[in-house]
Symmetry: C2
DNA sequence: GTAATCAGGACTTCCCAGGTCCGATTACAG
DNA sequence: CTGTAATCGGACCTGGGAAGTCCTGATTAC
């Protein structure tokens, strides 16, 4: 269903939570703040730290800290950090069951078209756009119909 | 990994195949033509027929027929036919484990932003764009680097 | 020195995509 | 008009991967 993993959803919540309140926050603290199991949050934070989206401080009174502001973090980066690079299809299977014949797979390579379109669409949206408490500079309509908001956002450029 | 199902991949191939050759084609015939297991192709065709992308003719000498031309079928429709409506997150879980507190889920509803962005990106690409044998009107660069092609396609409008 | 925190891996559980099957329906042939 | 064959339609089963949990080790402030 073109679904992205639940961990990515959590990652967004965690990052936004991290942008509020104290500069450095511990993983149990964040977990308690957003009402998610602690091990899961820890897993997400590890992945985010591995991708450089957050920096970690070990030891007592350690924790995680946001490196960039929310407005400098496109959704693409979060997805890439958790789910790996965006690639909607795993068409490259290697042994080529039927892709060797030129007429057999008429879309060979064409999925990149879709991949990049999605990548760009997600690259335009930052976490600041997704944070309800942040005033969104690109969009200025009412907050009741997110669909129209998105439309405005995209068509504005 | 923001992956769309393999069935959707098949659906695109099937639809393009259906646009070539005979007007009505049987599911075993298509399966043989693209080198995929017949039951799988049949399943894809059923879903496509259910969504009205193809029309089915039962009985002897029956088969499937393309309703609209490829250029009138955006990728969105294929995804919606196979995977259901595009919704990257299943945030709406009903009982609200932690989404009831107002500050608990700071992105509540904001995923629609992303959903619609993806939806629009996919809505701009039609199956004709993905068919290698069809001359693509929007893109006119060389066919060696699909990534750049996609970039051209999107940024051209 | 001690306690608190992150880092990394291995493991189990669960769900759904992927694949397969059999029954219902229709058209053609005699 | 009836029989037959070819096809669609829906239900079933299975394997892979994500989601979540736990443990041990490394690092740093107090």
């Amino acid at each position: 269903m073109l679904r992205l993993s639940k961990l990515t959803d959590y990652a967004v919540v965690v990052l936004i939570r991290l942008s509020h309140g104290e500069a450095v926050q511990t993983s149990p603290g964040i977990a308690a703040g957003i009402g998610l199991p602690e091990p899961t949050v820890a897993k997400v934070l590890k992945a985010l730290a591995g991708s450089g989206l957050v920096s970690s401080q070990r030891g007592a009174r350690g924790g995680y800290r946001l490196v960039r502001p929310l407005s400098a973090i496109p959704v693409t980066d979060v997805v890439a950090a958790i789910d790996g690079p965006i690639a909607l299809t795993a068409c490259v299977e290697g042994s080529g069951t039927g892709c060797e014949a030129e007429c057999t797979c008429p879309v060979r390579g064409r999925w990149d078209l879709v991949n990049d379109a999605v990548r760009q669409a997600l690259g335009r949206i930052t976490l600041a756009d997704m944070d309800r408490s942040t005033p969104r500079p690109h969009v200025r309509a009412a907050a009741q119909q997110p669909q129209n908001l998105a439309f405005t956002l995209i068509s504005a450029e």
